[in-house]
């Protein structure tokens, strides 16, 4: 069904100047409504047809308003109003750092009649006090019924020509659904947050890995949050005396937090722990000899209250086997520990390498806002370093994703390796 047309809308107007915008702070400069795609298009056109009006204050021209900024189209699909509002507030802050034409789509009430309601806004900001103001558009679209099921039909006419399209899908993307495929099919980049998927996330991880291709790079906030971990692990092998051990890696163990309780095994998101292993597997070109599989007894259920800090019970979690091209095995252990940290948080990454009778053990742990590295060579402490790892906000992550180039070998390789690790039909419900 085509979007419902109405004579209403097209009522956009300049938002009266309030307190002058501070440098770097986006300010709402235009607000209007629309009830059809055609009206949205008209409204977007009107914003830029009235530059003088936008610059007016108390009847006098105040500041030169630069042209619309135009670096990309950002399409956000939020499957609930809460997600939509959350995304809009993140975008309001990210707009200042990376302006784009943003379409926030909130499909709702799929069984009702087709309808569309849109709020068309322009946010402007000055990067510095003496710089001209630049503006970006944000269209918040709620669509019901059939209209909401054909998102691509809404998006396509609203894209700025020749600019790349990034699709940000907060929450659980419905991979495998035709409308999702149509939308993602036109994207130049897909942004997701695997650590917020419900369940253990394994099925979605497999689907995402299958979706990624060189023409559709994927930015996963879960992977981006681990940048300092990767830096910490890589730095161990920057040291010439440790580098040869890397090719003699025998074991990778990742410890992650879980709250325990009923269904903890399948309700704790495992995307981040798996990414640690997948990154190493990708960089070292390790083959998956045996994909991840659950082992051991289930975690403590309601009859055995979980205690934060409880020692890990041996033999639980996930196991896999990787192998070098020369045939040597690398054992993979992903194990839960009951913790007060959010479920799925990585607590420790351990590497064990053995070479010519000598052993290198590296342990990377999270400590508040830092990542700590300790290395032992033949049982003797040989290196200690600490890396600042402040928690990145969604604004930081989204900005980094929008600024990422089309080539991201870390994400590409890691996601592919994660797909192989999880395998088709991996255990757990995504």
């Amino acid at each position: 069904m085509a979007p419902h047309l109405s004579s209403a809308g097209g009522d956009g107007a300049v938002v009266p100047f309030g307190i002058s915008a501070m440098p770097g702070e986006p300010t709402l400069r235009w607000a209007g409504h629309a009830t059809s795609v055609a009206e949205i298009e008209r409204e977007l056109g009107r914003i830029w047809a009235l530059p003088q009006a936008m610059a007016a204050r108390d009847g006098a021209a105040e500041r030169h308003v630069a042209a619309r900024t135009s670096v990309l189209n950002l399409v956000v699909v939020a499957r609930s109003p809460e997600l939509g509002e959350g995304a809009a507030s993140t975008l309001a802050m990210a707009t200042g750092r990376h302006p784009s034409r943003t379409l926030i789509l909130v499909p709702t009430d799929p069984d009702g009649p087709g309808w569309l309601r849109a709020e068309v806004r322009a946010y402007c900001m000055v990067p510095r006090a003496d710089a001209p103001e630049t503006c970006a558009e944000q269209v918040y679209i709620t669509a019901g019924g059939d209209t909401g099921r054909h998102l691509q039909a809404i998006v396509a006419p609203l894209l700025v020509h020749d600019l790349p399209v990034t699709v940000w899908w907060p929450g659980d993307p419905p991979f495998g659904v035709a409308s999702t495929s149509a939308l993602v099919g036109t994207a130049d980049r897909l942004v997701v947050d695997g650590s917020h998927w419900t369940g253990d996330g394994l099925d979605r991880l497999a689907a995402l890995a299958a979706l990624a291709r060189p023409t559709l790079p994927v930015s996963d906030f879960a992977l981006m949050r681990q940048a300092r971990w990767r830096e910490a692990v890589a730095s161990v092998f920057d040291r010439p005396e440790f580098l040869p051990y890397l090719r003699s890696l025998r074991r990778i163990a990742v410890t992650y937090a879980t709250r325990g309780g009923p269904n903890a095994e399948v309700s704790t998101n495992l995307v981040k722990p798996i990414y640690h292993v997948a990154w190493l597997a990708a960089r070292l070109e390790l083959r998956v000899a045996r994909p991840l599989a659950r082992v051991g007894r289930p975690l403590a259920d309601g009859s055995r209250p979980a205690r934060p800090g409880a020692p890990p019970e041996p033999g639980r979690g996930l196991r896999a086997l990787l192998e070098w091209d020369r045939g040597a095995d690398v054992e993979i252990v992903i194990r839960p520990v009951i913790s007060g940290m959010p479920g799925g948080t990585t607590l420790r990454v351990e590497l064990l390498a053995e070479r010519r009778g000598s052993e290198l053990r590296a342990e990377v742990t999270a400590e508040a806002e830092s990542v700590h590295v300790l290395v032992w060579q033949d049982g003797v402490e040989a290196l200690e370093r600490t890396y600042h790892a402040p928690r990145l906000t969604d604004v930081d992550l989204l900005t980094a994703a929008l600024e990422a180039g089309s080539r991201d070998p870390v994400a590409e390789g890691t996601l592919a390796a994660a797909g192989r690790l999880v395998g088709v039909g991996a255990p757990g419900a995504g």
Binding site: H98, E231, D238, Y387
Partner: protein, 550 residues
């Protein structure tokens, strides 16, 4: 928590990092059979692939000489603090400030705090971030000529290695008067502070401009530096190269396919490079008396911009490939014979005038300036690059103080169309112009001809103007942030190499020497707030050209 400064374990025998030789008999056999030994090159860390932006400098001590000076307070420390607050410096970091004045650690930290309130790019300063940074600052007093300074500094750095886990890595930063460079370098050498021993950390030195006063002094200074440090340890800073828009010249030229084919004498009529400042010499009168525009701008900033515009595409973006290409440009510029200087180079000095609606004093009335000074505050030059690409294309360079506005721009003027087709138009189409604005209002402008709407066929030049601010609403890092981080990471691409410095001096020194032997110039010869002396206009008019209106 105890934090070992150095590995406690003995280094395992055998591993030969960075060595391409196979490591085991089996691997040797595989290598003979032509099979690859591993997924990654054994010489590099395979985990580094793709981590470029996540790279963290090694643990290190930043040893700042001239720490009480203006440059340290205005630029170097604010840049370090900004890197620290954005988590780009390692946790195991210390700043050792070396100066002549008697300060305690606490007093000096207080002074830096006050300077940051004034000069930090991002304000306000968060108290907790400052406290963490301040805890890594130590002040070390001493006279640069005193050998004991370096002995005590070595002991202090060793102690700080233990305290902060900086692992013996040291970056020496010379933010002193140039006259102190040689004695500091010699002092570092005598105390063995330059030695890079296996496993004991790296040693690098950053040297601020001016690097020498002429070719002879530059060669001498390079020799002094070379006695102590290897060239790979030396980072000569020209902060222009760290500017975002200067780096963008490389992206613009080599990241776009459409410009490089016309970047050639066949299409380019001439190139103009302007570095204009509206300010005078401020409080740097005594420095400027010694330097003048030729030493302060021509030898470094203007020559660097020229090299970036004119160089051939480097094969890679690594330091030596880039610098090799820049040096080739400078080598292709024949130093001027004394008799040619007057016809190709113009110098000027500003007298009193008006800038931005304010009356300003002439140069000779500035503080610390000789009332009879012959120092030039303006220089314009017509230079040629004798190579296949640029033969016969003039490069007009100008730099000056107290010009009407602050502007740094590079303009490529293309040749006119070969045939005037639009005879009915009341004006011929102008030649195309491509201008790269370095500062302010960073951006790129292309000027081309368009038809004036209407029944006739009138042609006018119009501008297609791209401004950075309209595409990227992010504030760029300061040049010092970029360059200091590069030095800590060991990337010298944006630093100048010894041969580059000497080649630039080889071009500028004959000009300075010819002036020394010429009659006294009729200074002042341009009014503050004008675009320089008339002779500069004549320089281009003789070629049938004129300076761009900026």
């Amino acid at each position: 928590m105890a934090r070992p400064a150095k590995p406690k374990a003995p280094v395992a025998p055998g591993p030969r990092a960075g060595d391409d030789a196979p490591l085991t008999a089996r691997e040797l056999r595989l290598a003979r059979a032509g099979r690859k030994r591993s997924a990654a090159k054994p010489s590099g860390n395979p985990l580094r692939g793709g981590l470029r932006l996540e790279r963290m400098p090694d643990p290190s001590a930043f040893v700042l000489f001239g720490a009480t000076g203006d440059l340290a307070h205005r630029k170097v420390v604010p840049a370090l603090f900004q890197l620290w607050r954005t988590n780009l410096l390692p946790h195991e970091f210390s700043l050792v400030a070396v100066g002549r004045r008697a300060y305690s650690d606490e007093t000096f930290r207080g002074q830096l705090r006050a300077s940051l309130d004034q000069f930090s790019r991002v304000l306000p300063i968060e108290a907790s971030v400052w406290e963490a940074f301040a805890g890594r600052i130590a002040y070390h007093r001493g006279d640069f000529g005193d050998p004991l300074l370096y002995e005590s500094l070595a002991a202090r750095l060793d102690a700080l290695d233990e305290e902060h886990g900086t692992q013996g890595n040291r970056l020496y930063y010379l933010a002193t008067q140039p006259s102190a460079f040689a004695e500091i370098i010699a002092g570092l050498g005598r105390a063995g502070l330059d030695h890079e021993q296996h496993g004991a950390g790296w040693r690098r030195i950053v040297i601020e401009k001016p690097f020498g006063r002429d070719l002879t002094s530059a060669i001498r200074l390079n020799r002094e530096v070379g006695k102590v440090f290897r060239e790979s340890q030396v980072y000569r800073i020209d902060h222009y190269l760290g500017k975002e828009t200067v780096r963008n010249i490389l992206v613009f030229r080599f990241g776009n396919g459409i410009f490089e084919p016309i970047w050639h004498r066949r299409y380019v009529d001439h190139v103009q490079i302007t570095v204009a400042e509206s300010i005078g010499v401020e409080k740097r009168g005594s420095f400027y008396e010694e330097a003048g525009a030729s030493r302060d701008f021509l030898q470094n900033h203007l020559m660097q911009l020229l090299a970036l515009v004119a160089m051939e595409p480097p094969a890679t973006f690594d330091a030596d490939a880039l610098r090799d290409e820049k040096v080739k440009v400078l080598r292709a510029m024949e130093p001027m014979a004394p008799g040619d200087v007057a016809a190709n180079v113009v110098r000027g000095q500003y007298g009193p005038g008006w800038v931005a609606g304010e009356p300003v004093a002439g140069y000779r009335e500035e503080p610390e300036v000789d009332p009879e000074s012959e120092t030039e505050t303006y220089v314009a030059a017509r230079l040629f690059i004798d190579d296949w690409r640029w033969a016969g294309v003039p490069f007009y360079l100008r730099a000056g103080k107290r010009l009407p506005k602050r502007a740094t721009e590079i303009a490529i003027r293309f040749k006119e169309v070969p045939h005037a087709m639009f005879k009915e138009s009341n004006a011929d189409p102008e030649a195309n112009l491509l201008a790269m604005r370095i500062q302010p209002d960073e951006g790129i402008l292309l000027r081309f001809a368009a038809k004036v709407p209407g029944l006739g066929l009138d042609v006018r030049g119009v501008n297609m103007d791209f401004t950075y601010g309209s595409a990227f609403s992010v504030d760029s890092p300061d040049a010092y942030e970029t360059l200091i981080l590069d030095a800590l990471l060991g990337d010298a691409a944006l630093y100048t190499r010894a041969d580059e410095v000497e080649k630039a001096w080889a071009i500028v020194t004959p000009i300075i020497e010819a002036w020394a032997g010429a009659p006294q110039p009729a200074f002042p010869d341009y009014e503050a707030g004008s675009w320089g002396p008339d002779a500069a206009d004549v320089l281009l008019e003789r070629d049938g050209r004129r300076w761009r209106r900026i």
